[in-house]
Amino acid sequence: MDYDNSIATVIDSRNLSTLKGPEELLKNVLHQPREASLFATMSMVMLTAQALFGQVPPELTTVFPAGGQVGQAVEVTVSGGNLQALRTLHCNVPGVHCERLDASRFRLSIPANAMPGLYDLWGMGDNGVSAPRMLVIGNRAEQVEVEPNETGSTAMPVPLDVVINGRIEKPTDIDQFRFDARRGQRVVVECSAERIDSRLRAVLEIHDASGRRLAVNRGYFGSDPLIDFRVPADGSYVVNVLDLIATGSAEHYYRLEIDTGPRVAFSVPSVIERGKASHVTLFGWNLSTAGSPENPLDRVNVEIPAKLAHETWPLPARLLPSQVVLAGAVFPFHLPGSHAPVLIGLSDVPVVVDRGDNVSAAAAREIVVPCEISGQLVAGDERDWFAIQARRGEVLFIEALGQRIQSPVDLQVSVVESHSSLSKPNPLIVERSTTLAQLTDETRNVGGAFPTAHLDPSGRWVCPADGRYLIAIRNLTGGLQSDPRRVYRLGVRREEPDFELIAVPRRNDPSGLNVKRGGREVLDLLAFRRRGMNDAIRVSAEDLPSGVECPDVWLGPGVDRATIVFSADRNAAAGFGELRLVGESRGLLRDPHDSTGERSTTKTRPVHGGTMVRAGTPNGGGRMTSFIPLAIAGDSPLKITADGDEELVHPLYGRLRVKHSPGGVLDVAVHVERKEIGHQAAVKLFGVGLPESIPNQTATIPAGQQKGYVSFYLPPTLPVGRYSFVVRAETTVPTADQKTETVIVHSNPVVFDVQPAAFRVEVDPFAVTQARRGETIKVAYSANRLNGFIGKMHTELAAPGRITDVVGLRGRGETFTGQTDKGTLQIVVNDDAPLGRQPSLRLFTVGVVEDEATCFGSSLLPLEIIE
């Protein structure tokens, strides 16, 4: 089979097979039988078998032009790192065909039925897969900027209704474009840069033929500018595109639209009920109903048929990490003839459309819980009021969406006492009413360099007494100006736990997921817990190809970050595939339909992809991706395996597998497997993806050894549940030129359960911390029984993998029975005991029931041996 053709064929078949529609996607992701291997059936692409040790995956920096027109082919040039072995580009638009022209040029054929919007484009080759760059599909004519065009006289002439693909190629560059327009025309000039992964901070200017500047804009959609230009007279006009701070490079690319056609910015309501026909008003430019001086945006009313009101994935849009809640809860609506679709939210509870007549507490609009409100805060100081009836002890979750639906607001939501007993509600009295709750922004950044924090408030409110309550929503950053773009969504719902998941490359740089044969690669999992979700979440992979493994990992109770590991065996075939990860949570949830108790529920959610667009501050950041491609390429020089469940041999109770509980110590045995056996450097170990409350630890496997331990203290506050983490190893490996290089590899996930503690062992804080060789010391300690445990407790000196007789030390065990909970352990320090601090030395206690060790606990013993 011809190599290039095979890639194109397989990718096309994959597109056709997998991207049929939103419902099918979810169905596929969530319900496809495991035996129907995605990799095996359609997406695995065989690569050359001689892939070499040390291959570096491709890195795509730019794709230019960054888009094309539906039904047309576009030749793009790519740039980046390690692109020598690039074979093809893959886009998530169904039907896009890629033809390789040379090492850096490709022709993309865009089907005529593609929906305009923003899509992902990956580079794939012998060395693996890159992280995606944005590819825009438009429905206007496309042109590429031609230099020189820095001055009015050299301005590039362009027609109306065009998209120009340009670049601010060097610092201080300006691109100028001349268009002719007639008096009264409404020409929208819009520049996409930040939204399409460009470094450009674009500024737009429009000048008339005499060079007089008529309009300027430095940011409309975030920092991407737009000028709504009403042509004052027939004639020529020049559009300038420049960088705000006069920087420039190949990465400062943009798409400039000069358009008189319909354009939609947002809809009101911004959310409709799932699966139901609805009416919405679209706001934008050159729509059927002209705007007014107060609200200059045009409008058009449309009916959304029920069949469209279903979630769609992937979306023809960019989603930032904080917008993960929209994945699977929005659909793109494309007004015929308009330049791009608008995202409309979907709700599975009734939608209340705010009418704008509830701007005082006295006029609060009555709503019934659960519901989702869609409203607008046009005036800077506008507040919308809603009233609910709630019962004592009832728990409500209130969640607002503003910034996350790209509305220029910083919302504040308050729950306020209601004075409904007044015959005529007095707003002044309400002003003085007690604010019962004020919901806070999600300022926590779970994702680190992949920032997830946002300004939308949400929170839990427990009703203090039966009655009527008011909910007020306002914009904290309204200022004095009105702005119709200030739309919001406000969900008022009961406690229905839910979550979303994103998988992001662990390295803080733009890269794809490339697993080396004989090695492992990891992704960070970020959990977005909603509406009281606190249970453990299991994440597993589906339909992995032969030779690839991905053990299940667990985000323990309340944990919102973990690491998932993919390994490929030495014989795994090189290739690409789409990774399918699913998160599942089983827990006891309060049943909103059954006031008598709780029920066991299972929630399943697909894991969405994320990518770093750019690393580092201040311009770094990431976004979500439509899929997670996985590539197998190259060979790993090193593999480490972690075992958190190693058997211990106890002098009294024989072979034990330790069950963990809060306050204990988790030992992880780490085995090193090198490809080059002759090279035996030391290996530094470190935990990765640990729950936040578990302090990380480092350990070193000395040079020449293939096994070591790293131990973690489990704090007493650690909730009971199942957790997982990964051990990271750093060491050196030989290179082809007889030198060494540092490599970082990850272990398999270590999964462990935390059970309720039967007792808590604590070394006396005043116990000796130093002992001389040959000395015998006594260490006071306590072992306090918990949770009704009444059995016998036996305590020994222990270290990772050893009990009683640790290297150079010997403990004399002690047993507590009855009410005893304090004692002294005698430790003999041998003459040959190793000097210095003894890592991970601890008192290890087993709880015994009917002569069987059933529960365990430890307390670390900081001891230093001196001469």
Binding site: R218, G219, L244, I245, A246, D381, D410, E431
Partner: protein, 757 residues
């Protein structure tokens, strides 16, 4: 001695004792700490900032500065140091009196004579048990000076009388107890007892009197000419200026302004000149006016073509057409954006990354756009003060990037928009104004709920923050701990709901038509920009003790500005078309020494950016600034953190405060050295594509070169002697290129070029 005599003596003794007794009782009843004792301490300088009034006191004895906190002073005097400072049993042995009379060593020396009334009053107060201030004590309400205004001749004296008025309706003469201070010592000095003595210098002077916490001001005008006959001649000359009444129909038509009209501005100027018997200089010629207006409005020299065109224009309204043309140019927005970037502290220093530069560029762009579109000034300020949202997206919110804390909010707002320096009141009552710490911190309370979140931390301050309205936050009085509510300066508390942004109320108060500060401050700022000195000078130090030199004129400008809807271009038109703005800068015998009445144009050095751009324009070689677009002019730089040695030498401010005074235009040796040694000027002179080289390569005659260069550099043709000297030099110098360079440079470093005149 007989019994009779003894009885008589006894009676006499009783009578005398009774007299003294009743007098003592009378004195004791009258001596009040707040209104009698504290003013003495102030008069004697005990509570001055250099003595016991400073923050740390002096040698363990601390009084409130100038006695603004009588309760605190009473404690210090009576209770502190175990009461060692006062001795009621032996009042004359009180440490207070012993020190003040220097009977025991006193670092402050002898402040008081034992025979003085003040001594007796202090002694009596001590003898009567040092009564504490009581809540029902009459409070000092105000003081008055008489006379309040007076025209004085040079070398004349006038005794002021100060009267204090109390809350119980009484008043008394406090002339001797009051403290006096003149604001123009060259024009008039004042002695301790209120005797004003004018000197030899004519002009306007204000004398402040302070008694207790109250102040009053006496205004004097010392005319240039007092001789009646000479005054009559001057009157006649002033009549000759020939202001014509403006017809109602043409009042709003700037096209009519070129005539010497009797606009309120001109009328008030004329009244001032009449009052001081000063004759203004002659009207400047057209070329001078064109250069002056181009520099002041656009920060740009006129081109030779513009000069020719303007000189050829014979229309009566050519000045107003010129002003309109200049105001319509983008350079107007750039130049005034530079000014406002200084005032609003759009500071780039301390930042290290492009993202911070993005902020300053964004803010500068917003200011420039606001000026270009002639955004009403009230709207401009309101948008700024109430700015919220992301600094990444909402440019006015960037003001809050450098203005971050209570003192910065208060002082920036007070100085920039209210023309008031209130920083003294942060620590103590303002010594020459009514502002107290309550005023200061109540103004600060308007900003207490400015919340910040997000942002990227950099070397100096976080950037790209989100400014929002915090739920609640309190400002406490630093001394009393009282929770202060937001209120305007000198006003009562705002009525605010829990969700109301106090900044909105502050902006509304500030921008209301009848605000006593807002329009006046801007009118004064603009007047100072164009006329070289504010009607209130310094421009951001308005107070009753620093009155405007022409209050009627300032009122008229402010009122007109407010009535126009805070139309800045309208204000600029009014000022630039005034008679004063069109005068020559050269004085004549009748107005030499005038620095207050604008009877001539006060010349001033071009600002750093205008000067550098001027060099670039004349020599047609732009300055190359690192990190900004090629061809960017100095007045268009996004912030002050663009390296340019020339600009720093010529006084570019660091934008650390809202005070325009931060921009230095004082001469310095480094400036002279820069003009001589500047590599940048040398580059501009020697650049092959530059004007100098092209001129040398042209076949123009020496006379043509001299004529062209004079017009290009100085906006005028050379005089005959100048032309001859220049042509002769060009003829003598064998290297034509060097000759052209030298001629250009020698004109560029003249005061005539360096100054706007």
């Amino acid at each position: 001695m007989t019994n009779f005599h003894r009885i008589v003596w006894q009676l006499l003794i009783v009578l005398i004792a009774g007299m003294f007794s009743s007098q003592l009782e009378l004195l004791a009843a009258d001596v009040r700490f707040g209104t009698d004792i504290v003013p003495i301490l102030t008069k004697l300088g005990c509570n001055g900032g250099g003595c016991h009034g400073k923050a740390t006191g002096q040698n363990g004895f601390k009084l409130s500065l100038l006695g603004f906190e009588p309760d605190q002073d009473y404690e210090s005097l009576v209770a502190e140091g175990r009461g060692r400072r006062l001795s009621q049993a032996a009042p004359d042995r009180s440490l207070l009196l012993l020190k003040a009379t220097s009977s025991v060593p006193h670092g402050g020396g002898r402040r008081l004579d034992q025979s003085s009334d003040d001594y007796h009053l202090l002694r009596d107060w001590i003898a009567q048990g040092s009564p504490a201030p009581r809540s029902d004590d009459p409070q000092l309400v105000r003081i008055e000076l008489s006379p309040r205004n007076q025209v004085l001749a040079t070398n004349e004296t006038l005794q002021l009388k100060a009267t204090a008025f109390f809350s119980n309706g009484t008043s008394r003469d406090v002339t001797k107890q009051a403290v006096y201070q003149s604001n123009e010592l060259g024009i008039a000095a004042v002695e301790n007892d209120g005797l004003v003595k004018t000197g030899t210098q004519p002009g306007l002077v204000a004398v402040m009197a302070r008694f207790g916490e109250q102040i009053a001001t006496f205004h004097a005008a010392v005319p240039f000419v007092t001789d009646p006959a000479k005054r009559a001649v001057i009157e006649e000359q002033l009549r000759g200026i020939g202001f014509q009444p403006v017809s109602p129909s043409s009042q709003n038509d700037s096209r009519q302004d070129d005539r010497q009209d009797a606009s309120p501005t001109n009328t008030h100027l004329l009244n001032q000149w009449r009052k001081l018997a000063v004759v203004p200089s002659a009207t400047a010629d057209d070329a001078t006016f064109l250069r002056r207006a181009s520099i002041d409005i656009c920060g740009t020299l006129p081109t030779s073509g513009e000069i020719t065109e303007y000189l050829a224009d014979s229309r009566l309204d050519k000045k107003s057409r010129l002003i309109d043309r200049l105001l319509d140019r983008p350079e107007y927005a750039s130049y005034f954006a530079l000014k406002w970037s200084d005032i609003l502290q759009n500071r780039g220093a301390g930042y290290s990354t492009g993202k911070q530069r993005a902020g300053t560029t964004l803010f500068a762009g917003w200011i420039r756009d606001s000026l270009a579109t002639n955004k009403p000034y009230d709207q401009f300020v309101s948008e700024l003060l109430t700015a919220s949202g992301s600094q990444y997206e909402n440019p006015p919110a960037l003001w809050y990037r450098t203005v971050r804390k209570s003192p910065e909010y208060v002082e920036s707002v007070a100085q920039a928009f209210l023309g008031v320096r209130i920083q003294c009141a942060q620590c103590h009552h303002h010594p020459t104004e009514r502002w107290s710490q309550s005023d200061y911190f109540s103004l600060a309370a308007n900003f207490a709920r400015v919340g910040r979140k997000g942002g990227f931390a950099d070397a100096e301050v976080p950037t790209d923050e989100i400014i929002f309205l915090k739920d609640r936050s309190a400002v406490l009085h630093p001394r009393t701990g009282e929770r202060l509510q937001p209120r305007p300066l000198g006003g009562s508390e705002f009525l605010l709901g829990p969700d109301d942004d106090p900044r909105v109320s502050l902006a509304r108060w500030m921008t209301s038509r009848d605000n006593p500060f807002f329009a006046r401050t801007m009118a004064n700022r603009m007047w100072a920009h164009f006329l070289g000195r504010g009607l209130v000078h310094p421009i951001d130090d308005a107070r009753s003790t620093n009155p405007p030199s022409n209050p009627e004129l300032l009122d008229a400008l402010a009122q007109d500005f407010a009535t126009s809807g805070f139309n800045v271009k309208h204000l600029i038109r009014s000022i630039t078309l005034s008679h004063a703005y069109g005068l020559e800068s050269a004085p004549h015998a009748g107005n030499t020494g005038d620095t207050q009445t604008f009877s001539r144009f006060y010349p001033r050095r071009l600002s750093a950016e205008v000067l550098l751009d001027g060099f670039s324009q004349v020599l047609e070689v732009p300055t190359v600034f690192a990190g900004v677009r090629a061809g960017t002019r100095a007045i268009d730089l996004p912030d002050e953190n663009v390296a340019a040695h020339f600009l720093d030498v010529f006084g570019r401010p660091a934008r650390m405060s809202a005070c325009e005074c931060e921009r230095v235009d004082a001469p310095a040796l480094t400036q002279a050295l820069e003009l001589v040694n500047s590599a940048e000027i040398q580059r501009k002179l020697t650049e092959k594509s530059g004007y100098s080289q092209r001129l040398a390569e042209s076949d123009k005659s020496h006379a043509d070169i001299a004529n062209e260069v004079f017009v290009r550099v100085l906006a005028r043709k050379p005089r005959a002697d100048e032309l001859k000297a220049a042509a002769d030099y060009l003829a003598l110098e064998p290297d034509r290129a060097e000759a052209c360079r030298s001629l250009l440079w020698s004109l560029l470093v003249t005061n005539e070029f360096l100054f706007n005149h």
